[in-house]
C-alpha cells in the first residue's frame, strides 16, 4: 500500500517540478473563467450553470494532457526499468500513477471553487447543488484519468496517449448528446454508456449510487487494462 503513495508522490513531484502542470492550470482557469464570468458581466446574471455545463467537456481535453506522460514517459526514458526493479507490486505502480493524476486534476478543479465563492458574496447559490456538481465532476475525473492512464500505457508516445484518451473521453461525452438520432433501445444504451446522464443527475444534487457506480466501474475497468498488460510483461508473456 505504501508503494502507491510513494509512486503517487514521485509522479506529482515530477509534474510540479516541470512547467506542464502550471501551464495546464492557467489554461483551465482561463477557459472556465470565461464561462463563469461571461453570464456574470454580459447578462448580469450570477449563475454557475453555464460554467458547470462546460466543465465536463473541458475536462475531456484537460485530463489527457495530465495523464499522457504518466506511463508513456516512463517507457520512453527507460525509467520504467527503475520502477520495475524496485520492490513495487504492479498494482502499486498503476494505482500510484492514477492517484497522482487524479490529485493533480482535482487540484485544478479545486481552483475553480473561487467561482461559487464569488457567487456566495453576490447572492445565494444553492450550496447543495454546488457540492453535488463538484462531487460529480470528481467522479468524472476519476473515470477520465483511468482512461488516460490506460491510453498512456499503450505506447512510448505521449501524443498517442493524449489523442486516444481524448477520443475515448469525447466519444463518451458525446454519446449522451446524440440520443435523438438513434432509435430505441440504442439510445437507452448510449444514454447509459455516455457521461451525460450520470453527470447531470449528480449536478442537480442527486447522488444516485447507480451514477457513482458507473464512474467507479469505468475507472476500475480502464485501470485493470494497463495492470494486466504490465503484469503480463512482468511475467514475460511478451517483452
Amino acid at each position: 500500500m505504501s508503494g502507491i503513495l510513494t509512486v503517487a508522490k514521485k509522479d506529482m513531484r515530477e509534474m510540479l517540478n516541470s512547467p506542464i502542470a502550471y501551464v495546464l492550470y492557467v489554461i483551465f482557469l482561463l477557459v472556465t473563467g470565461y464561462f463563469f464570468s461571461q453570464p456574470l458581466f454580459v447578462v448580469g446574471q450570477a449563475n454557475l450553470a453555464p460554467f458547470m455545463e462546460m466543465v465536463p467537456l473541458i475536462l475531456v481535453f484537460l485530463v489527457p494532457a495530465i495523464t499522457m506522460r504518466s506511463l508513456a514517459e516512463e517507457f520512453k526514458s527507460g525509467t520504467f526499468e527503475i520502477l520495475a526493479t524496485l520492490p513495487f507490486k504492479t498494482y502499486e505502480i498503476v494505482i500510484g500513477k492514477f492517484v497522482a493524476c487524479l490529485t493533480l486534476v482535482a487540484l485544478a478543479l479545486a481552483l475553480t471553487l473561487i467561482y461559487p465563492l464569488v457567487l456566495g458574496i453576490l447572492g445565494k447559490p444553492d450550496w447543495g447543488a454546488v457540492a453535488g456538481a463538484y462531487a460529480g465532476n470528481l467522479f468524472l475525473i476519476a473515470a477520465l484519468t483511468a482512461i488516460g492512464i490506460f491510453a498512456s500505457g499503450l505506447s512510448k508516445n505521449q501524443v498517442i496517449g493524449y489523442l486516444i484518451a481524448w477520443a475515448m473521453g469525447f466519444v463518451l461525452f458525446m454519446a449522451g448528446k446524440v440520443l435523438v438520432f438513434f432509435p430505441y433501445p440504442v439510445n437507452d444504451i448510449l444514454n447509459f454508456v455516455g457521461f451525460d446522464s450520470h453527470v447531470e443527475s449528480i449536478a442537480r444534487g442527486v447522488l444516485d449510487t447507480r451514477d457513482l457506480l458507473y464512474f467507479v466501474s469505468v475507472a476500475a475497468f480502464f485501470l485493470s487494462l494497463p495492470l494486466i498488460r504490465l503484469e503480463k510483461r512482468r511475467k514475460g508473456v511478451y517483452a
Binding site: K9, K10, N17, S18, G78, A84, P87, K235
Partner: protein, 309 residues
Amino acid sequence: MIEVTGLTKYYGDFCAVKDVSFSIGQGEIVGFLGPNGAGKTTTLRTLAGYMPQSSGTVKLLGKDNTQDPLGIKRQVGYLAENNPLYENMEVTEYLAFLWEARALGDAATQAKRVKEMVFACGLSGVIGKDIAELSKGYRQRVGLAGAMLHNPAILLLDEPTSGLDPIQAKEVRDLIKSIKKEKTILLSTHILSEVQMICDRVMIIHRGRLVTDQRVAELQSANEEFILTVTFSKSLNGDGDFQKLQGVTAVEVVGAAGSEHSYKIRASRDLRRDIFEYVTSKRLPLLELRMDRKSLEEIFHELTKEGEK
C-alpha cells in the same frame, strides 16, 4: 550469492540468451563482457527482476527469482543500461524517492545515509540541481548512488562507464573499486581494459552463449602469446630465418618505412634474449626490439570469433 542455471530468454522467436549458467560467490567482482547485442543486458535485466527468463533458474542470495521477486529486488542494487533517471527531480529528491520505495527507515537514518552516498559518490557539488542539468559523469554517479543507497549485497551494473569521457570513466571505475571489497558485483561492459582494471573474473558472452568464464589472469596466461617486433636498418633475406628459433609460431614481414625494415615474430615464450644473440652472432644492424603480450582485446576477439562457428 548468484546462481544461474540454464538461463534462456526468448523475445518472440529471437533467442537473446541461450542456456547460460554461472555462479558468483560473495565478494567477487565479475566482468560480463560481450559485443553489443550479445545478451549482457538481457541477462542483467533478468537478474534484476525487470523481466523473467523463458526457462532456467535464477537464484540470488538463495532466493528464486520466480518465487520471491520482491525479496530479491530489496537486496539487489541495479544500474540499468544507459542509466535512466527522473530528469525533473533533484538529486536528493531522487534518492529520497528510492529510500521511500525501498521503505528503508525513518528520516534521520535517511538523511545520514543520503549524506554518506553523496560523499562516497562525490555528489556534494550538484546536490540542489535537477538531474536534467547534470553532466553524464555526474548522472552516472547519481545512478550508482541510487543503486547503492540501500547497501545491497549484490550490485548489478550495466555498462557503468559507457558514454563517459576517459576522466569520468576513471572516476566511476575508482568508485566501483572503492566499494568492491564488501560487495558482489556483476558488471557488464564492452571495454576490455576495464575488466582488466577492476574485475577478478571475466565471463564472455557472445550471441547469447557464454563462451568463457575464467579468472582474468588465467584467461591471459592460457592464451599467452608474445609478439616481438624487430626493426633493422637493412632488409634481411626472406623472413630473416627467425623461424629457426625455438618457440616461434609465425613470422611476418611488416614492411619497410624508409631505411627501416620490420619483422613481427609471434612466439609461445619470451624470445628477447634469443633474438639478441641471433642478431649479434649475425652482426645484423638492429634498430629496435620490442615485445608485446597479446592483449585481452585480441583474446576477446578470438573467443567471440570461435563462438561464431
